[in-house]
């Protein structure tokens, strides 16, 4: 849009364009298609915006102030979520969580046994020494299980007598 029209478009839309300014505006839009179209579109948008004008000045229902105060009081009490959303507290919470995660990671790395690979593949399973193989020492837990089984058999045999 050309300067002469841009400078006076508000007066034109308000209906206050008079005298030389109006003549100059009219003369320009008569020959400049671009400015003419733009002024026309802005005029139609201006008319379209009138649909947002409320039918009349409306009053809210009685007791409005009391309801506003109730709303103010309810919003004045900080909720748990509002506390989390508070930037300062939220940042501290993020730092604390990150520190905790790092500490837990370090703790797990330190306390985890070194040889803890599982026999996840057949190759690994075959590579591991079997408990059934001769010459392999039975672990203490297996001994306890065998003793328990023996005592159970004795109990069952004496129960029949």
């Amino acid at each position: 849009m050309h300067r002469s029209v841009e400078d006076h478009i508000e007066e034109f839309l308000e209906g206050r364009l008079t005298g030389i300014a109006r003549e100059s505006f009219e003369a320009h839009v008569a020959v400049c298609r671009q400015c003419h179209d733009l002024a026309l579109q802005m005029q139609s948008h201006s008319a379209l915006l009138q649909c947002l004008v409320a039918p009349a000045e409306l009053e809210p229902p009685p007791g409005f102030y009391a309801r506003v105060i109730r709303r103010v009081e309810s919003e004045a009490r900080p909720s748990f979520w509002a506390l989390l959303l508070d930037p300062v507290f939220g940042r501290r919470l993020v730092y604390a969580s990150a520190s905790l995660v790092i500490l837990m990671g370090v703790f797990l790395l330190v306390t985890e046994p070194v040889h803890h690979e599982l026999a996840s593949t057949p190759v690994h399973a075959l590579a591991q020494p079997s408990a059934q193989q001769p010459g392999h020492e039975q672990p203490a837990t297996s001994e306890k299980v065998r003793q328990g089984r023996d005592s159970l058999l004795v109990t069952l045999a004496t129960f029949g007598e």
Partner: protein, 220 residues
Amino acid sequence: MSGVLDVLSFPIAGSANRTKTKVDHSTSDEALLVRRVQAGDEMAFRDIVERFQAKVYSIIYGILRNRNDAEDIAQQVFAKVYFSIRNFDFRSSLLTWIYKITVNECYDYLRKKKVRKLVYESDFSEDDAMRMENSEGATDHHAPVDQRLANRDLVVKLLAKISEEDRSLILLKEVEGHSVEELAQMTGMNENTIKVKLFRARQKLLKSAQRLLRIPARSV
């Protein structure tokens, strides 16, 4: 270009009184009221609510056309006024400041609820339709109600595409009917700045309309 001036009709000149004196918003009676609220005076807050409740309610109803939502959002507006008034810096008038909060709350509501249709079957009675037929300001009274509702829907969508500041300025100008001089007084900006901002906001609205309605851009 013959006959272009027949199409581009010049609006009738406005008759409002216009003054060019710069208003100091920090010394008005409204400023005293604000300072009382800032100091914790509940009665002053009540004065503000009672002074602006009808205006706020009407602005919201004008945009949403739903009384229940208007009441709810109006409450939210005044709650926001209560909590934010300590940041009010007297650069603009209290009304302008409340107006911006109101319009922003309406658009926040529309964004949150993802309201696409602004007409609610339960709320829009035949009585409302008749009232709209009889009382809508400068809109075409011969246009059918559904056409007017479609226009409103379009306008609300277009306004959602521009910035909060542009939206408030356009609405203060077109819907509230304030002149450039009045807007300069209300906002504390100079008239040329207001004109430039309004012009850019109008251009953005036109571009948004072209995108929304898929009209080929020609002159914007």
